[in-house]
Amino acid sequence: MTTATASLGMERSPPVDQTAGKRIPTGSALYNEVLEFFYDEAALLDQQRFDAWAALLAEDLSYTAPLRITRQGPDRLNTVVRTTLHYDDDYSSMMGRLQRLATKSAWAEDPPSRTRRFITNLRLWEGAKPQEWEAETYLFLSRSRYEQSQLQILSCARRDLLRRSGSGFKLVRREIILDQSVLGMANLAVFL
């Protein structure tokens, strides 16, 4: 990597399995609990039940979506850009977004998109702290607005940190690794 590009913040996202703790076996009780959490979360977002979704967010939330960038040669896998982001939110700014969505004039999503969040490929590890887990999921988003007969689609991986909270979990960190350098949607007015 040249100094230039390093300073511009393009890097290879280290695979979760190389940075996280012990693997939580697929299909184990904890794994299934987490899987259920993600399915339920997807349902809340697809049903636009934002209040219930907000209750899943930890107050030390970090919610980001780095850019992806096309590189060639030795740096070709350093495609994740964290200097500029597509989402760059904390708990308080996220509450601001949800407050806006509750107004009578959040036009970007009124009429709302009809969305479907397909969650697959969950992989789970222990986090650095007790009662925290690193989870990677793949998300395929299908989004339909107005009379569009072609679905808008988007694929990404999500690298989440979950924390046990009562009988459920809170989302502490979500980093969304998008697959496109140029997004094919007019906005990201929907959460991923």
């Binding site: 601001g96 107004t103 990201l188």
Partner: protein
């Protein structure tokens, strides 16, 4: 040789007739017509200065980024001498793309197809197997470099044009340069692009976005109403937004070349945390202390003062330019940004609306800070900008959901005969002691600046080749 088409459409309609000077109407057909689009690529995007990035994106020798001038892809690179070059990303051999990455560092760009190689200044190095002279014997090596655009830097911003003999960037900016200086040239270090731009595609004609960038202030009241409902802009409640009309009064400026800016009284922002009475007691200097212009901190004020005339400084204290556009496709957003801690910070962004056929536009969004800002402040300004502008920004997600409807409406047999109207004119009016030139409109923000945009569009589209 650029292909020149006559400004008459194949059904006999002169382009000039689609912008009615009497009734200040613009035909919707301009938002969907394929022939018009082709002409625009030739008469506008091959002729005017276009914003491609900022030199802080390519700080070192060999650094490059790949960008777009209309539908032509170009390499923006820095050579060993530190010069910035803008080169058509098309191999003179068989037309292959030369730089495959969006960004990188290279002292030689070798085309992967047959191996022709070029320097960062575009000059041709040679083809593989030197002895075989695979570049042929018809053209000299000097004639086989990558096609160079004319480049000019301004406040670190990289502009380029294919119009080699045309006006300089200064001439092109005209009377608006005084105001842009206040935004782009105000500190020792200058601006810094905080990273590569966000990019996304909006299914709309580029002019749906561009005509708004020409300082359409009025749409904020309705389209961005949700932000006022949540109290983010001014103290209006959901019920009195229209009565209060926050940020509607100010001074709009523009010029013959279609550029414009809205100088919005800082009162709008001040009154979020102090009373009008308190505010009135402040001198311009004190105002700058309490609420420096977006992106500037108290610590940077001495720098600011060094870079600005006293008149410019006063303007920044009372009504800094916050939003506006540069013809043809740049949006300027240097705004106060409310923070969740109740304070005000800044969000600095520039967009280009890159045409992608008559029905699509690529929204490119750079985010800036002053180079001399602290890392924390840069981080803060990135977050501010991302939350309000671009892909997920709560302001601009409404805009990008709007333009596609205009474009779609312009496709119908009836729709394309409808018009956009610019009949609400404030008229030129300069406040006393106004320091800058250009066309100055003091009062409620109206259609003047946008109409000027269309007048310059018309001028270019109907110009003699």
């Amino acid at each position: 040789m650029l292909i020149e088409s006559k400004p008459i459409l194949s059904d006999g309609t002169p382009i000039a007739d689609l912008i009615n000077l009497e009734t200040r109407e613009v035909s919707m057909r301009l938002l969907s017509d394929h022939e018009v689009y082709k002409l625009e690529m030739e008469r506008i995007f091959s002729k005017t200065w276009l914003l491609l990035g900022h030199e802080t994106e390519i700080p070192n020798s060999g650094d490059y980024v790949v960008r777009d001038m209309g539908e032509d892809q170009v390499i923006v690179s820095r050579d060993r001498k530190g010069e910035v070059y803008v080169l058509l990303n098309i191999c003179p051999h068989r037309g292959m793309r030369v730089c495959m990455a969006e960004t990188g560092n290279a002292q030689m760009h070798r085309c992967v197809y047959h191996g022709w190689a070029f320097r960062p200044d575009g000059s041709f190095i040679g083809a593989p197997i030197e002895r075989e002279q695979m570049h042929g014997n018809i053209f000299a090596k000097e004639d086989l470099g990558l096609k160079r655009a004319r480049v000019q830097l301004y406040g670190g911003l990289i502009f380029a044009t294919w119009n080699i003999e045309g006006p300089s960037l200064e001439e092109f900016l005209g009377d608006s340069k005084f105001y842009f200086d206040l935004l782009f040239c105000r500190t020792d270090g200058g601006l810094e692009a905080l990273g590569p731009p966000q990019k996304f595609i909006v299914p709309a004609n580029w002019k749906a976005a561009a005509e708004q960038s020409a300082s359409d202030g009025f749409h904020t009241l309705t389209l961005h109403r949700s932000l006022m409902e949540t109290g983010q802009y001014g103290r209006a409640t959901a019920d009195d937004i229209y009565a209060n009309a926050p940020a509607m009064y100010g001074v709009d400026i523009s010029c013959r070349q279609g550029h414009s800016l809205r100088c919005i009284p800082a009162e709008v922002t001040f009154t979020m945390f102090m009373s009008m009475d308190e505010l009135k007691k402040l001198s311009p200097d004190q105002r700058l202390e309490v609420l420096p212009p977006p992106g500037i901190t108290k610590e940077m004020l001495p720098e600011l003062k060094r870079h600005m005339s006293p008149e410019g400084l006063k303007l920044m204290a009372k009504a800094p330019p916050q939003v506006g556009g540069m013809f043809p496709n740049v949006l300027v957003l240097f705004i106060y940004a409310p923070r969740t801690d109740g304070k005000y910070s800044g969000a600095l962004a520039l967009h280009t609306y890159v045409p992608r056929g008559p029905d699509h536009v690529e929204f490119t969004n750079w985010i800036f800070a002053e180079k001399s800002a602290t890392p924390e402040m840069k981080r803060d300004m990135m977050a501010n900008a991302v939350r309000q502008a671009g892909t997920s920004g709560t302001i601009e997600q409404d805009d990008s959901d709007t333009w596609p409807h205009m474009s779609r409406n312009a496709r119908g047999a009836m729709g394309r005969t409808q018009t956009m109207k610019y009949g609400a004119l404030l008229g030129e009016k300069k406040p006393a002691d106004w320091p800058g030139g250009g066309y100055v409109y003091d009062g409620f923000t109206k259609d003047d600046t946008q109409w000027n945009w269309w007048l310059y569009y018309r001028e270019l589209m109907t110009a003699k080749g």
